[in-house]
Subunit: 305 residues, 2 copies
Amino acid sequence: MKEKEFLNIIKHTLKSELIGDDCAYLKDLGIVITQDNLVEDVHFSRKFATPFELGFKAAMVNISDVCASGAIPLYLTSALSLPDDIEGSFIKEFYEGMKSACEDKVEIVGGDITGSGKIFISVTAIGSDKGRKISSRKNARPGQKIVVSGEHGSSGAGLRLLCDGKKNPQKFIQAHLMPRAQIQFSEKIAVSQKTDYAMMDTSDGLMDALSQIAQASRVLLEVDFGKIPFDKDLKYFENFEDIILYGAEDYQLIATVDDAQDLTVIGSVESSDVYGVRIKYSDKLIFYTKEDVEKKLYKHFKEQE
Amino acid sequence: MKEKEFLNIIKHTLKSELIGDDCAYLKDLGIVITQDNLVEDVHFSRKFATPFELGFKAAMVNISDVCASGAIPLYLTSALSLPDDIEGSFIKEFYEGMKSACEDKVEIVGGDITGSGKIFISVTAIGSDKGRKISSRKNARPGQKIVVSGEHGSSGAGLRLLCDGKKNPQKFIQAHLMPRAQIQFSEKIAVSQKTDYAMMDTSDGLMDALSQIAQASRVLLEVDFGKIPFDKDLKYFENFEDIILYGAEDYQLIATVDDAQDLTVIGSVESSDVYGVRIKYSDKLIFYTKEDVEKKLYKHFKEQE
């Protein structure tokens, strides 16, 4: 898929300032909106995920996008296109999974159903800006700290286990199948920061989020690898450092902020003529351009297949 | 597809009052929201529709749903899942089609792209309730007039021509490929009515909309067939009366209102122990239950295949 090329065509065709972040911020209405598709045998397989897990994840990824904006996640709508062999029990479990992800905080308010050859799921999430400062990935400024909501790599490890036909450790598999949106971290940032901040979820990997913010804000993000939180059992995996940096779908949040009190700081924003990400390992310092990150992400993705 | 059965399962699982109309009305945010999927070889074929026409229609059907609520259509987001053989030119023309349907009134603010085997399009539309009274299909009350925004049957005739490999009359084919949402009629109703009203678009056919309102409001809708506006050239089609009543995708609006001044009245709302639709032909009066309408819709749909 030529996704990034296609997104550029869309931006060029629509000439819209509102395309670029995970959510579009509609200031006149006081809301943010985001929409994502999940396609069978592209994003998920009925072999690996139960209908409940699928519904859970479909809701969660969109709630996470709203959290990345700093808005209060409030409502979801869904549209499902389903093959003829799908039973009513699938629908029931799917929506129970969605409800579980919503945790009495978010309400599901629409549900279109149509026919299809494979399962297509599209979910839209709406959040409110009330009392919140909304993020933009263009907002990183030299002098800010880079903060993170939690551990990285667990979901990537879980996917590797699933692909290898393994069922343990369960904690990694659960991290992959049932990720949690970082609602509290999002609120903490969006309510406490007095100045503009960048925030993204790490759905496509920590390095992808860092790189996207660096490019959009035209800065250098320097990260101390030793400060990134991760589950210590990841060390039993081959190339565990790559799983932490490039493994996707942890749905943690990273932000660049002026006020990092009580937050987990992993690095800082630096001014630079060349935009990108610099990782400080214990024994070396490596600079990654946008292209470097994209190549590594692609290579990491291919190794999972 | 067991769409209606599945929608009942969703309603039951979610226990939400907000599911039932084409749009969900989120009063706390002052907005309505609707989301629809279009699936290749289920809802459209690349053989019949250009990318421009497809984008146009994907936007229009959602704008039409917002119009049915009476809200002001303001924003669209889209998520496309596309096969590998799709070119950049497809994306460009598709979004130009969407923009054309938006007519400077509606802004497209998001565009997710993912991979897929077949083309899968999901569009979400947002409208504002500012200065508007929002409709519900539960709002029909005995004594109200049934009003309609325009002609029915042209889109159904266009689909029949396309299925038969014909290219004329162009007006019917255009009505099918490039339907127009009834923004002005929607505004007229939503601004002028002092009392609650029901409104729906006729995307699934005029009879479907009448029947849905009758069931949700627990009333009888009596329609004078001779008063339904239609293109007189429809008379050259076999069973043209069925095309007018059951042909889908005209995207006109019907409403039940107390104040029908300057509007096209086609019938009236009556109280009844049995809910449904009664059609007054020149020589007969026929009553249709919910089941009658569903059977006729299915039969009409099958005849198109």
